[in-house]
Amino acid sequence: MTAVLDRKPVNWKGALDWVAVHSLGLALGLMFALPIVFVFLTAVMSDNQAFTKDLWPHEWHWGNFVEVFDKAPLLKYLGNSMLYSLLATAGMLLSSIPAAYALAKLRWRGRNAVFLLVVGAMMLPPQVVAVPLYDTWSSLGLTGSLWPLIVPYFLFDAFSIFLLRQFILTIPQSYVDAARVDGCTEFQALVRIIVPMARPGIAATALFCFLYTWNDYFGPLLYTGERPDEWTLSLALSSFKGMHHVQWNLAMAVTLLIMVPAVVLFVFAQRSFVKGITFTGVKG
């Protein structure tokens, strides 16, 4: 309420609007969160109750969160996941920001065609692409490690280039032109103008890259499957599956544990999405 009062004198229409928007927001939040609550409830159930129609735990097995550490070396997997996600994200930022800028704000012949190719690069089914690539990495002797998954991010990530380009496009051209008039090189314009202005977009892209790699299951399975020392957290799920039975309670407990670092990261990173102070200063 205070926010409204701060801005304007009392305004009934505004207040009603406030209530409507906030109830809607709350309802949405609950709707999104509810299934996660079920994940949590399943995670603290007994093996015999998990995945039954009884959604409320008969007994609370908090020990499940401890037990999973006995069943799988989660801390080692955590380290590997961190390595994969952090390096991939760093690599993506280094390679994709300049490429996105070149596709959004630099003028050169063939730009549109190249942009379409970037989009097209996402349209080959990964299951098929994996066949020749696996053989290549294998002939380099790099299967059994996370490098076949990390290295590509230092060169080319179509999703991120596409997303960043679209964000950079929303920055009015006048800012870039002003920088050029002031004698900035393109590199300086990129670093001084575009990167700070596109901060929400860059933060979002980095976050997605991190989370995509964090939850990546098939990549690590394909490339590190035979070397459990290199496994990532997402692969830990397979430790709770037998030939004819799954320990759903433990699997859900691990699911939550996998999500925790991601949630923490999101809570901190989302500040970057909040409208930046950056704008007010730039447009002089």
Binding site: L26, L28, L211, Q270
Partner: protein, 328 residues
């Protein structure tokens, strides 16, 4: 605003002297160098390999054997190829539209929140953080017919819920529901774009007496149109590549869900969850016909690339016209 137009290029580039133009070209090349290398290695090479495999019989072990267009002609006889095309087209149309509209709607609501923004944003994004197999299975539990929470909720309104994943008519809507639930990434992208719209534009419009809806329609939407374009294209690709969620939904409906999404049962019920990538995977890795799978991949790539190229050009033109109107 019209600066993204190509004709500005000409105006700007023409008077530039040769040396600076060469320097400009070097800058472009430097910015794109890693991407070009990566593109050739991780896309160009697999693409060429896939197209080459598509003309061969290849069991993944023995050297591919040239068979010309046989794999392509087999598609005409393959009943499930048609089913898979239908399922994926269904998802491309429904999932794309639903996802973009839904994400835009939720982001617009969040953008207008004045307190609790962080909390709501986190809650909306939470599902996207769950591993896809787990996310699908949880939804399966929620939408469990007869006694699941969703059916209980619908029961309050006297509605008997459908059988969702167990019914061939409702399994794809069920998968769509899962995908909307995990569309937090697109919401965040759109939200970031909405928050990026310079505040002074709104203030100017407000002075002109524009209400919130008109401001949203005339300022927010045009400003974030590049990001919406991303949302559309990204959703199409997501629908075209839909694999894990379809496999998990099918396996859970057949009563044999497993935590890693590994299953023998694909497409259950009645092949309604047999998406194009699922059938392609089945042919390539379960039936050991990588040649046919490669042909399917080639068809998927060519068709979706052509369609997206047309779409991108169209949407771009449309957004130029909008930008061109008030901006010029």
């Amino acid at each position: 605003m019209t600066a993204t137009l190509e004709r500005v290029d000409v105006v700007r580039a023409a008077p530039a002297r040769g040396r600076s133009r060469a320097r400009h070209r070097r800058t472009v090349l430097a910015f794109l160098a890693p991407a070009i290398l990566g593109f050739l290695l991780f896309f160009g090479y697999p693409l060429v390999a896939t197209i080459a495999f598509s003309f061969t019989k290849y069991d993944l072990i023995n050297p591919p054997e040239w068979i010309g267009l046989e794999n392509y002609s087999y598609m005409l006889a393959d009943k499930l190829f048609r089913t898979a095309v239908y399922n994926t087209l269904w998802l491309v149309v429904v999932l794309t539209a639903a996802r973009v509209v839904f994400a835009l709607g939720v982001a617009s609501v969040i953008a207008r929140l004045k307190s609790g923004v962080g909390l709501v944003r986190t809650l909306c994004y939470l599902p996207s953080l769950a591993p896809p197999v787990a996310a699908t299975l949880v939804f399966f539990l929620v939408m469990r017919p007869n006694d699941g929470p969703l059916d209980a909720f619908l029961g309050w309104f006297g509605i008997e819920g459908p059988l969702w994943f167990a019914d061939p008519a409702w399994s794809k809507p069920g998968i769509t529901a899962v995908m909307l639930w995990v569309s937090g990434d697109l919401m965040i992208i759109i939200l970031a774009a909405i928050l990026d719209v310079p505040q002074e534009q709104y203030e100017a419009a407000e002075l002109d007496g524009a209400g919130p809806l008109r401001r949203w329609w005339h300022i927010t939407l045009p400003s974030i149109s590049p990001v919406l374009l991303f949302g559309v294209v990204n959703s199409i690709i997501l629908a075209l590549q839909l694999f894990t969620q379809a496999v998990v939904a099918g396996s859970a409906a057949s009563g044999s869900a497993d935590v890693t999404g590994n299953t023998k049962i694909l497409g259950f019920p009645e092949n309604s969850t047999l998406t194009f990538p699922v059938w392609l995977y089945t042919q390539g890795f379960r039936y050991f016909d990588m040649g046919y799978a490669a042909a399917m991949a080639t068809v998927l790539f060519v068709v979706s690339f052509a369609a997206t190229a047309v779409l991108v050009q169209r949407l771009r033109k449309a957004s130029y016209q909008e930008e061109g109107g008030p901006g010029a």
